[in-house]
Symmetry: C3
Subunit: 245 residues, 3 copies
């Protein structure tokens, strides 16, 4: 069984952080909360999403799995005001999820969890550099980089975190020293990433006060934000693009 | 003759409430005010619009009929601020309507009233149930219903007003009990309506504090709002869609 | 050499006032400031742009010419907040312009000035009528005129400044008497202009408190606004369209 009440804004942010990578997802429900692990269709990026029961106004659940069409759920939540509460209830007999808000009940058929791409194993990565940065700063860098290229490198040189994109004639480089960051744990690092993915993620990242980035040398990126007032966490892993030169 | 001054917002709302159904309309002018009766091209919905002379800052008119291109008039009013006054004057010799606002005069040719679809006879309907509801509540229900279907049923069961839309797999149901409505005069009622029409109307309905809905059993819907601070009224009649089952 | 710091909003407005007519422009740099003279591809309109060094927070320059892709520069400035400062620096060796804002450096290749359309000679015109008008008033007239025609005449009759557009059936006429204008120096004048050009210019004009218009009889129009808090000036010259009748 599953029955929970949560603020609309928290739920919207949660769903958006997953739907940025995949259209359908398998939600793992336990008495302690909800989690999702998903990989995008091209196998380039992975999202790990965890929302503790404390993020909810009320939360009752036994172990289970729900296959959810995220596009549909995003659509339903457009009718909710940010400030109102949303009730989610599993109708086990009909295999439907009932979404209730202020007199309105939306009954949504669930997807067969076995029809959804298998959950990925989250690899353990040894990433030497860690940067803690304001969300708006990384969003802005990604937006500028898109003006000149489809790829952006991220790295650390000395005490400085840099993001750089090079086009045929133009170049964007962002350098943020220790005092312009929230925190940095420096180590030589530099990898190249697709801006397509970073741009999608930046909608979520841009809202966060703090974004934690773990980097290596031609290694995947790990990027993490707190959501739902600290009661949840979203982390993305993004494969590097190996430079052809 | 016809010469009148009215606040831009009142005029905008008035024209919009008619142009939601038809592109051209015949305005009946009397010394007491303005009225329009029109039916949409598919003969599914009808609008009755009445604006008393008290809605105007000044109003002088003899009996007459004006054929107006509503799309054009809406366009003209885009250049007006909500707070300013608009003067309307009939130039009988040239058969034009002069729309004046802050130094700007727009001279608009009138349509031949005989070229416009004939005014419908407004049928007298005996609709047993009456619901008075907040405009935003009905707008929200229509918006949610559109996510799952092209049709929405409206009805009363016991003391509860419901709106329901069913898609192939998903369903939206809104139930509003007596205490969530402004008023209800209950009677068994349920009819199915096209969301296309309801959605167009909801732009007007959503702005109103109070929307009065009259319903029967597989019968047309009558839906009514006050406009222009109570000096006018718009009512729509919408034919039901007979369920095929 | 060229190195300067300026508020983002001033720079945005400046570039927009030129890019309204041309996509690329030759910027003339002197120790006293920056200027641009450019003609649109159809040879119908001309812009004269002057920004004094006082508009900048700091300004160091020797004589030179920079060929700038305005579309690109507009794009770069989208990432800047209105309130922040932008640093512009010429990298003479690489022949690039470096645009810096809050940790972000955008290196933009310059265009070969000789590849850009030659600067026009600004003709001296003897335009007898001068009107000083609020920017929003001219913007509004242009917007209304576009509803009925592709052309608008501007003129002075007695003490009244008028703008008029005539379509096949409809007409827009704006008349502004002395007391509705900031100033007028009357003289018989009337010329017809393309609304395409006026509409593009009106984005800049609409923001200005004061727009100065010089008019003659079937003669070009000169239209002038101050920018950058009075430290700069943009003036457009627009060729008249000779009425076919």
């Amino acid at each position: 069984m599953f029955k929970a009440v949560i603020g609309a804004e928290k739920l919207k942010d949660s769903i958006e952080s997953i739907s940025t990578l995949v259209d359908e997802a398998k939600f793992k429900i336990t008495p302690e909360g909800i989690s999702v692990r998903a990989v995008d269709p091209a196998n380039v990026a992975m999202v790990s999403f965890d929302l503790a029961k404390d993020a909810f106004d009320s939360f009752e659940a036994t172990d289970g799995e729900l296959g959810i069409d995220l596009t549909k759920l995003n659509g339903v939540m457009e009718t909710a005001d940010k400030s109102e509460n949303i009730e989610l209830e599993l109708d086990e007999t009909a295999h439907k999820l009932v979404v209730r808000m202020r007199g309105l009940a939306y009954t949504m058929s669930l997807l067969d969890p076995s029809s959804i791409r298998k959950e990925p194993k989250v690899p353990t990565l040894d990433l030497p550099a860690r940067i803690v940065i304001r969300g708006e700063d990384i969003k802005r860098a990604i937006k500028a980089a898109e003006k000149v290229s489809d790829y952006m490198s991220m790295g650390v040189k000395g005490d400085v975190f840099f993001m750089e994109a090079e086009g045929d004639t133009d170049k964007v480089r962002v350098e943020l020293a220790k005092d312009q960051l929230i925190d940095i744990q420096p180590a030589e690092a530099k990898s190249l990433f697709s801006l397509d993915y970073l741009s999608d993620m930046s909608k979520i990242l841009g809202k966060a006060n703090e974004v934690t980035i773990d980097l290596g040398k031609d290694y995947p990126l790990k990027i993490k934000v707190k959501i739902a007032e600290g009661h949840g966490e979203v982390s993305y892993m993004l494969a590097p693009r190996v430079e052809s030169e």
